[in-house]
Assembly symmetry: C2
Homo-oligomer: 195 residues x 2
DNA sequence: ACAATAAGTTTACAGTGTCAACATTTAATG
DNA sequence: CATTAAATGTTGACACTGTAAACTTATTGT
């Protein structure tokens, strides 16, 4: 060991941080606990003092990714306060942008079991206030009230819009669509025509 | 070796077949070339006579999964000949059903790089005739002609519907939606309201 | 018939996740 | 403070992994 202190100081966070870097560089297939440990300048078994096993570290990294994602969507809404329709459109674009620009993040998010989930009960959604859907739902709720949409339809419409954005993001991020142009224009058109 | 013949006979297909079984049972994380080889009753290096490396085998398995998926969608359309609207709705439901019932298939399909892709050029889609989208597009094209939709909008609408189905499938298959009821009803309502 | 090739096997090696035993530092307690 | 417990490191071992090389056996083409 070439550290000057025996204890690392903040190994847990360092493992998550470097783990995310490695994951982005090599992909999940080539991701290795021992490599992350060595990136942190620590022996190959040190991680076990902070995580039960490899999966537990990966899960914490994934949670970190979700936080980044939620933040990216939240930031956009703050650019257009009191304009829920614009917020919806821009969140959709931000969503797709995030997935396209971070393809490894994207794979992780879809591989993992859900960290946030949407609960549907009677005529209400339940979801974490700080989840991406939570943010989206708020804008959607305001917009559909604004245009006096039937309350029955509002929930269905919100879910549909949210699904649509997911679908577009996947198709584009996975390059299942070859489109010789600005994909964000495509996204905007699709959202506008469905809203 | 406990085989009676030195040569296996059809090892390549056996590897793909057993590989798919193993993948479904253990998931991609625990998938191992050596396990597949032993399932086929063959030494751990035999697969290298048929596949360059592990990735190449996995890729061929994924292609197999896509074929199954395409078939599942095609079957449904054949149940409702000359009823394009019904075909669209039922394909959407079949899509989601396939993903929910085969969660490991689902993960594989979204992890892999695209095997089929949709090319958008001018005002036309190009895609493999036997791809899921190819099948979907045919029904969509017929339906939107039937209702005399503006040709400009038809492509956009088709892509939107296809995205929507993807999004719903992901949300439900990943259990990002907790819904205490028949999810296929949910799918049907969402498609109908957007078509 | 026999050489070339295809399709298996065995051996070897570096990398992996994880366990157990040990070492060092920090925190808690008398 | 001194001593002990707990937290956080390290080392060594093990079984398992992917893959390369050298070898063996069967099949095929001339």
């Amino acid at each position: 060991m070439d550290r000057e202190t025996y204890h690392h100081g903040d190994l847990k966070q360092a493992l998550i941080h470097n783990g995310l870097l490695l994951l982005n560089e090599k992909g999940i297939e080539k991701f290795s606990l021992r490599k992350v440990a060595s990136m942190c300048g620590v022996s190959h078994n040190a991680p076990y003092k902070h995580f039960k096993d490899k999966d537990e570290l990966i899960n914490e990294i994934i949670i970190e990714v979700w936080k980044k994602f939620n933040l990216a969507l939240l930031e956009v809404t703050e650019l257009y306060p009191n304009k829920p329709k614009l917020q919806i459109i821009e969140m959709g674009k931000a969503y797709v942008k995030f997935m396209v620009e971070n393809p490894e993040h994207f794979k992780l998010m879809f591989l993992s079991d859900n960290v946030y989930s949407i609960r549907i009960e009677d005529d209400k959604f339940y979801s974490d206030k700080d989840s991406a859907f939570g943010v989206f739902k708020d804008s959607s709720e305001r917009y559909f009230k604004e245009i006096n949409l039937n309350k029955n339809l509002y929930m269905q419409k919100t879910l549909t819009m949210w699904s649509l954005v997911h679908g577009i993001a996947i198709l584009i991020a996975k390059k299942s669509i070859e489109y010789n142009g600005d994909y964000l224009v495509l996204v905007e058109r699709m959202i506008k025509s469905s809203i």
